[in-house]
Amino acid sequence: MWFLKNLASGALCAMAMLAVSPSHAQQAAEVQVTYSRGQFQPGEVRAPADTPITFRVKNLDAKAMEFESKSLRVEKVVAANSEGVINVRALKPGRYEFYDDFNEKARGALTVQ
């Protein structure tokens, strides 16, 4: 039983330590996106690598949208005519797609360099 207890507490401690990312202390880069007539403007945005990112999504449409991205691992419903703020971890270089989960056609991408 001691073996299982030690294994469990060890694993939990390791995960807790790993979950604390040093990047949270860094200044975040800000990315602004507007959502209007069911489209993201601009459709392609850029951000620096290894820096936390703050997305500011301004929804100008008369209905709510859901900013979502599997690769960024975030989702947030942004009410009509309002702004949503989404914090994203520091990212490695690459292309990260995002979309409106309520609208199949609305897509955009973040390029991290």
């Binding site: 039983m1 073996f3 299982l4 294994l7 469990a8 694993a11 939990l12 995960m15 790993l18 979950a19 990312s21 979502e68 991205s69 599997k70 690769s71 960024l72 691992r73 975030v74 989702e75 947030k76 994203v88 971890r89 990212l91 490695k92 270089p93 690459g94 292309r95 990260y96 797609e97 979309y99 989960d101 897509r107």
Partner: protein, 299 residues
């Protein structure tokens, strides 16, 4: 004659399966995968778990049933259902917990009492940590998971027990073709301690791994296959080996809506051995077949 008919039926089923795969791959080619959204890989490999941990802020309720059929003799059917709530508090951690319910229906099985019962059987929690994340430049993603479980009903026999299990897994997957073809790999170590009603304490462990391949044939449908190799020990520290088995079978994932999906899998034991018992297959520690059916609702 019957053998001939069976053989013909077998060939017909085989031909239908090949035709279906050809149709599916044709449909897959016709669809433009670059227009598809990224897919969450956690559930696309059947019993093999992908590395996905969901999206920060996402919550999900799932009903996940695993059924096990077939022992050496008699009739044997047992299920365990997880009623599970999961959420993703950060972009690296996923937490799951819930209750277990089980059913047992067996008769004439050597070393197991005849039984027909339905019972709430325990509770579990799971913590998943994304250790390596996939990017457009790195197709590999790896998640480490621990899942402590307590049971009041034995998974195999259905008897009243006090059981504590601590499953630890490494869930890895590779995106072989963007948005289209994925390979999944699991490494499993599952020690457990069981105390019976007469006061006996049994320690055992499972150790093994799996490999799976899944093809996304439409934006919302993934078909695949997986193979598992599992070893059983009568000790938590893997010193008393008692037998092993290879399980093989197809997998299916269907996304009904952006917030609702199901996954299904069937595994058949194709090879196995029991230490000290020169029979084919290992039906003492494993089952002849197992099936998985899971429905999930995100909110």
């Amino acid at each position: 004659m019957q053998v001939g008919i069976r053989s013909e039926r077998g060939h017909s089923i085989g031909l239908c399966a090949i035709a279906l795969l050809v149709c599916c791959s044709g449909a897959a080619r016709a669809d433009d995968a670059s227009a598809w959204r990224d897919i969450e890989t956690k559930y696309i490999f059947g019993f093999t778990t992908g590395s996905g941990i969901g999206l920060e802020g996402e919550k999900e309720f799932t009903v996940d049933t695993i059924a096990r059929f077939g022992k050496r003799d008699g009739h044997y059917a047992a299920t365990e259902t997880k009623y599970e709530f999961e959420f993703t508090p950060t972009q690296f951690i996923q937490v799951e917990f819930g209750a277990l319910g089980s059913t047992h229906n067996m008769g004439g099985v050597t070393a197991l009492d005849d039984r027909s019962q339905v019972a709430p059987s325990g509770a579990f929690a799971e913590l998943r940590y994304l250790a390596i994340e996939r990017t457009s430049n790195n197709p590999l993603s790896v998640t480490l998971a621990v899942e402590p479980t307590v049971r009041r009903i034995d998974e195999t026999s259905g008897e009243r027990v006090r059981n504590f299990e601590f499953e630890t897994t490494v869930n890895a997957d590779l995106e072989l073709v963007k948005n289209r073809l994925f390979a999944g790999f699991n490494l499993l170590y599952e020690p457990e301690v069981t105390q019976t009603t007469i006061g006996d304490t049994q320690r055992e462990a499972k150790f093994g791994g799996s490999a799976a391949l899944s093809l996304r044939i439409a934006s919302n449908v993934v078909l695949g296959g997986e193979v598992w190799y599992l070893r059983h020990y009568d000790a938590a520290n893997l010193t008393a080996f008692t037998g092993d088995a290879v399980m093989l079978g197809p997998t299916l994932y269907i996304q009904f809506t952006p917030k609702m999906f199901m996954t299904a899998a069937w595994n058949t034991q194709v090879w196995g051995r029991e230490v000290g018992n020169p029979v084919s297959l290992n039906l003492a520690e494993f089952q002849r077949n197992r099936a998985k059916l899971k429905f999930a609702w995100e909110f």
